[in-house]
Amino acid sequence: MNWKTFYALLARDGHVLRRNLLPTLLQNLLQPLLFTFVFGKVMTTSGLMPAGYKSMLLPGVMAISMVMAGVQAVAMPLITEFQFTREIEDRLLAPIEIGWLAVEKIVAGMIQAMVAGLVVIPAAWLIMGSGVKLDFSKPFEFLLVALLVALFSSAGGLALGCSVGQTQIGLMFSLVLAPMMMFGCAYYPWSALEAFPILHIAVLVNPLVYASEGLRGALVPQVPHMNTLMVIGALALIDLGLLFLGLRKFHQKAVS
């Protein structure tokens, strides 16, 4: 392990991110915040949704923002860089084991996911106005869940980015990310699915479910949510699985 090189790789990603800051922010945050405005403000103010919905919605929106930010931060550049232009080659030739380049990508993705998640809290709060009751009495639980969510999003981004070709980006969104968001218990609590027994169990393969429910448990414990230990266990397992898969795919893609 060569820290100088690792830091330089990270600095390069930071530099590129700063250059594309505005488009990246819009890409990651606009959709969740629009959703927050429509469901958290328009629907609740008009009385179509109860005011309590606001507190339930915020952790879900935060989960979605983190996942979208992490997945896109890692997957999109990788898809481009592994195309026939092989832009990544220079970094693969840097004096560091190539696995560490994948780890660097994951760290960069996690930082972006954490930032996106933390930006969403005040932004959504401002958009929805009064009535959001957040509880910050469990900071360590919150931090742990957020870190696990960030890791699964960027490790997932690594696995996706190394499996998907440039022509399949649209499919990746409609076949992977869209169903994941809709069935990720972000816009409704997991307990709401009890009326749909099969779905109630089937969505448990979706990591976003644990992200939304875990953040709910940490931020708005008054809302029904999944048991925190179960959430942390499931996220840890998913993280390990995606990490293993992502690193393997990366290696296959990087060395011919």
Binding site: N2, K4, T5, A8, L9, A11, R12, H15, V16, R19, P77, T80, F84, T85, R86, E87, I88, E89, D90, R91, L92, L93, A94, P95, I96, E97, I98, V255, S256
Partner: protein, 341 residues
């Protein structure tokens, strides 16, 4: 000092088509499995078939061969980008596949197609490359300036490279490879697609770098480039080394030196035997029913006797091409194919 390279019995079999940038234009197709109906066709491509050679410290070494011969795969293995199926590659004292990071510190690579980081400007490409290799801020700024100047890119230094022309990208690729002052510089088809002027500039840069005691490994399918630049050459075809030595040694190995490619209305054994008896002729071959390749120690002087011989025996001579001693004729002699085929 200077760093030598040794490769021992390298074999590379691709189970999936190699990535586009790695080995472009494989000219031979996948091996067919015996029974077409039963098993699904398995892709298998033998790119290198037991290649061994040695590159001495401080020399310019050329790998010469047609597209798909295995040049890029060899470079890929030596630069940690392609994993060999078997065999060893050693740079300096490091086995490339055992001690990758140490090997990577010694090498600079100019790829066949520019693979510049499109998210950065020309200058940033150099400075970040320096940073990956642990150079301090002041050092990498200084080296980036020097190289941009040397490669005539100073006025475009702050531009994003996606706007660059092919030649500019190629120059920047070379500058990047030199940024960390590697002991061994690999150039995969460095002059493909360059205009003649830039090509001469490139040759000069390669010679200059070599004068500093650095080892240069380049692949090419241009005979003149191999001839002009390389101290020693290996000729590679279908994943095997056909011949190796200095350009002079290789040329001296061509029987007779000159090659006369003749075309007749038809060719018989009798004609071949007649041609063989002409003065200075060392070898006569007939690649097909109308062609004859004559290797001889003289070129134009042989045309008169050939014409008389053919007329006397009732053959019509339709075309004559005289090739002077060159690596091209050597390649033809060994493979029966022209380099451009």
């Amino acid at each position: 000092m200077g760093i030598g390279i040794r490769i021992e019995n390298l074999r590379k079999v691709y189970a999936t088509p190699p990535p586009a940038a790695g080995g472009a234009g494989f000219s031979f197709g996948p091996a067919r499995s015996g029974n077409k109906e039963k098993a699904p066709k398995k892709f298998e491509l033998v790119a290198l078939d037991g290649v061994s050679f040695e590159i001495r410290a401080g020399e310019v070494f050329g790998l010469l061969g047609p597209n798909g011969a295995g040049k890029s795969t060899t470079i890929g293995i030596l630069t940690t980008r392609t994993q060999p199926t078997s065999g060893r590659a050693i740079i300096g004292e490091y086995d490339v596949w055992q001690e990758q990071v140490k090997a990577k510190r010694l090498i600079g690579v100019v790829p066949q197609r520019p693979n510049l980081d499109f998210a950065l400007t020309a200058r940033e490409i150099l400075t970040f490359h320096g940073a990956y290799f642990g150079q301090g801020a002041r050092e990498r700024e200084r080296r980036a300036d020097e190289l941009l100047e040397k490669f005539k890119l100073t006025d475009r230094a702050t531009h994003m490279v996606r706007t660059f022309s092919g030649g500019m990208m190629q120059r920047l690729s070379i500058a990047r490879a030199m940024m960390h002052d590697p002991e061994v510089l690999f150039l995969d088809e460095p002059s493909a697609g360059l205009d003649p002027q830039t090509r001469l500039l490139l040759w000069e840069i390669i010679r200059d770098y070599n004068r500093l005691g650095k080892t240069i490994v380049l692949t090419t399918h241009y005979m003149d480039e191999a001839d002009a630049l390389c101290d020693r050459l290996a000729i590679i075809d279908h994943g095997r080394i056909i011949s190796h030595g200095t350009p002079a040694e290789l040329k001296a190995a061509i029987p007779g030196g000159y090659l006369l490619r003749l075309r007749f209305d038809h060719v018989t054994e009798e004609l071949l035997a007649e041609l063989k008896t002409l003065p200075g002729v060392t070898e006569v071959r007939s690649p097909d029913q109308t062609s004859v390749d004559v290797y001889a120690d003289r070129g134009g002087k042989l045309i008169g006797p050939i014409v008389s011989t053919a007329q006397a025996a009732g053959f019509e001579l339709r075309d004559v091409h005289i090739a002077e001693p060159s690596l091209e004729t050597l390649f033809l002699h060994h493979t029966g194919r022209s380099l451009r085929d």
